[in-house]
């Protein structure tokens, strides 16, 4: 029916509007390959959950088409799509035991009793909840409920599983533990996963690819490392990880690089010309805190600016230094706590340097 190169899921210029006026999802295109772990990441109200709901069949697409294994599914009701899903609040049936919850998708598919109990037991063992089958959801802890929800979404062996902020209600330690658990389940079962979250570290830890949403548009679709190291625009640079911003005007473009005159009197800096409007346009320079070095002489680095140390925060493995530079007094530099590291004092004047390749000139 479908060859291996065909994506499992395809969104084709999908739009969604709830009231017929405002588009929540503006023009969504996405191909998810078989076995891939794709995360939709974005602030609340960015349209990521709406996209997941359209894929699950709970919301109709206003425009565009969604394909599952090459077949358009806009007119297929949710119960015939065969997609597993983990809900934000788990949505476990409170009047059924854990085993009955897991058996439910198998029963509606008309499976035999012995086959059901075998599959249910295997699914419970997979999430280390063997022996919990007779409990009710209310008798389980949040983490256990979460694992039941995951195994219920997998027990009928769907080729595609959706997760809608499944770890949002858990505390930090449990959340990290579950991140690895879900990642391992994904690797072991070779299932395709589409995951929605607003937590960037969750997205970076687990995904093969991440679609960053904002304002109903995918801002960038890339692997975690590309997203962090090579953001396409100022929103992605600001949303993923920590980021120093400097504003300026593009004065000259040569090859892949450009010369930017900083606002705030910092002078000219050389940056990678990624997403600017050309000579004369305003640009946002994005620079990761760990990519700038402190106390370098002017000749040693492509860019070197004078900075005043405003605040030092000792964090054990590194010292977080807030400096003011070219009128920006929120510029962060991470000084690693290694042998022979630079010792700064608050109020001191120092030089901050960085390479042109680490400084990306983006849209204003």
């Amino acid at each position: 029916m479908s060859d291996a190169s065909e994506p499992l899921v395809r969104f084709e210029s999908v739009q969604k509007s709830y009231d017929g006026e405002i588009l929540v999802v503006k023009d969504f295109n996405l191909d998810v390959a078989k076995g891939e772990f794709v995360t939709m990441l974005g602030p609340s109200g960015s349209g990521k959950t709406t996209c997941l709901m359209m894929l699950a069949g709970f919301e109709p697409a206003t425009h565009g088409e969604i394909y599952l294994e090459g077949v358009p599914i806009n007119n297929v009701p949710p119960h015939k799509r065969g997609i597993g899903m983990v809900f934000q609040n788990y949505a476990l049936f409170p009047h059924m035991t854990v085993a009955e919850n897991l058996a439910f998708p198998l029963e509606v598919r008309g499976m035999g009793k012995s086959e059901i109990s075998e599959k249910v037991n295997r699914a419970l063992d997979m999430v280390r909840l063997g022996g919990f089958g007779d409990r009710r959801p209310a008798q389980l802890s949040g983490g256990q409920q979460q694992r039941v929800a995951v195994s219920r979404a997998l027990v009928f062996e769907p080729s595609l599983v959706l997760m809608d902020e499944p770890l949002g209600a858990l505390d930090k330690n449990l959340r990290e533990e579950m991140q690895y658990e879900i990642k391992h389940i994904h690797e072991n079962l070779q299932v395709t996963l589409v995951y929605v979250t607003h937590d960037q570290s969750e997205a970076l830890t687990m995904s093969d690819r991440i679609a960053v949403f904002d304002d109903g548009i995918v801002q960038q679709l890339a692997s975690p490392s590309d997203l962090y190291e090579k953001p396409d625009n100022a929103f992605v640079a600001g949303f993923i990880g920590e980021n120093n911003r400097l504003y300026g005007e593009v004065k000259e473009v040569t090859g892949d690089y450009c010369q930017v005159e900083l606002e705030g009197g910092g002078g000219m800096v050389k940056a990678l010309n990624v997403n600017t409007g050309g000579v004369g346009s305003r640009t946002t320079l994005s620079l990761r805190p760990e990519r700038s070095t402190i106390g370098v002489a002017k000749e040693q680095s492509t860019n070197s600016l004078e900075a005043k140390v405003e605040e030092l925060i000792y964090l054990g493995d590194h010292i977080r230094s807030r400096v003011s530079l070219s009128g920006n007094n929120e510029f962060i530099v991470k000084v690693p706590n290694s042998h022979g590291h630079v010792h700064l004092k608050e109020g001191e004047i120092t030089q901050i340097g960085w390479e042109a390749d680490d400084c990306r000139a983006l849209d204003a």
């Binding site: 699950a56 069949g57 709970f58 009701p77 949710p78 119960h79 015939k80 799509r81 065969g82 997609i83 597993g84 899903m85 809900f87 934000q88 609040n89 949505a91 476990l92 049936f93 409170p94 009047h95 439910f104 998708p105 509606v108 598919r109 009710r136 959801p137 209310a138 008798q139 219920r152 009928f156």
Partner: protein, 283 residues
């Protein structure tokens, strides 16, 4: 809620006044019901306590009004009618009311407030007006003096209770459960009977109970619509007071009070057990 040790004289006074008022309310509510119970055992055909009853003379008490109730075909006939009408109208009102509540709680329901208003209007419109309206309408389409007519009329009166109780239960119903059921492959019918229905059952049952009681003690509509064949217990009691002046109605009233208490107790026990089973309350 005991009186705290720092309470001043004003609080202390109010504390006891409040309890006194509460006691008075209970006395006024319950005494008329309790008073008919000893009176129904009166050996004399009176509605008041006789000298013998007050001095606890065993000869002043008897079961003759209970015997009269059981042996009188008019009474047994009315009991049968009451149950037929109440059960049929309860089934109808519960089904229709539950469906209406489900529809009304859908997020995209148009004219929700208006529909809700129309559905619960039989509760608000004075009964005598509804009854008169039904009398003229049912007469013109030939439904007066028939069981079907009274069942339909009582369904209309009972439905608002079901709509209100089920709507209240649905407020606490997590819609993602229906979505989860659909996602797991259950069609809407399976999803309703396996997921929605068990979870809203307490609301459906209490609505059904209200609908049953509404029909069971309804007399105004029956006065208008019922012929001799359709006489219910309240209708029979009405003529008992007006025409026969027989304490049999006291015996009937006592039996009805006992049935009501038994019914409510059973339902409450069932409800608690059910909640415990479903893990909704700890314990």
């Amino acid at each position: 809620m005991a009186l705290p040790s720092y309470a001043g004289p004003l609080e202390t006074t109010w504390y006891y006044t409040f309890r006194f008022i509460c006691a008075c309310i209970f006395v006024f509510l319950i005494t008329p019901i309790l008073i008919i119970i000893p009176l129904s055992f009166n050996v004399e055909p009176y509605f008041t306590f006789t000298q013998g009853m007050l001095s606890f003379d065993p000869d002043a008490y008897s079961l003759r009004w209970y015997e009269d109730f059981i042996n009188n075909t008019q009474w047994t006939h009315s009991v049968k009618n009451s149950f037929i009408i109440a059960i049929a109208s309860t089934i109808l009102a519960t089904t229709l009311g539950t469906l209406a509540a489900l529809g009304l709680s859908k997020p995209h329901m148009p004219f929700r407030a208006l529909t809700m208003g129309v559905l619960i209007s039989p509760m608000i419109v004075p009964l005598i007006i509804s009854a008169a309206g039904m009398y003229f309408f049912y007469s013109s389409i030939g439904l007066d003096q028939s069981f079907l007519g009274i069942i339909l009329a009582h369904t209309v009166l009972g439905t608002p209770f079901v709509v209100i109780t089920v709507t209240a239960t649905l407020v606490g119903f997590d819609n993602s459960l229906s979505r989860a059921a659909a996602n797991l492959g259950a069609n809407p019918t399976t999803s309703f009977f396996k997921i929605t229905m068990p979870l809203i059952l307490p609301g459906v049952i209490s609505g059904a109970l209200f609908a049953f009681i509404t029909s069971f003690d309804e007399v105004v509509v029956v006065l208008f619509l019922a012929g001799f064949e359709q006489r219910t217990i309240p209708r029979q009691m009405w003529s008992g007071i007006r025409e026969q002046i027989s304490p049999t109605i006291l015996a009937v009233a006592t039996i009805l009070v006992m049935i009501s208490i038994a019914l409510l107790t059973t339902l409450e026990i069932l409800r608690r057990r059910n909640e415990k089973l479903r893990g909704l309350t700890p314990g």
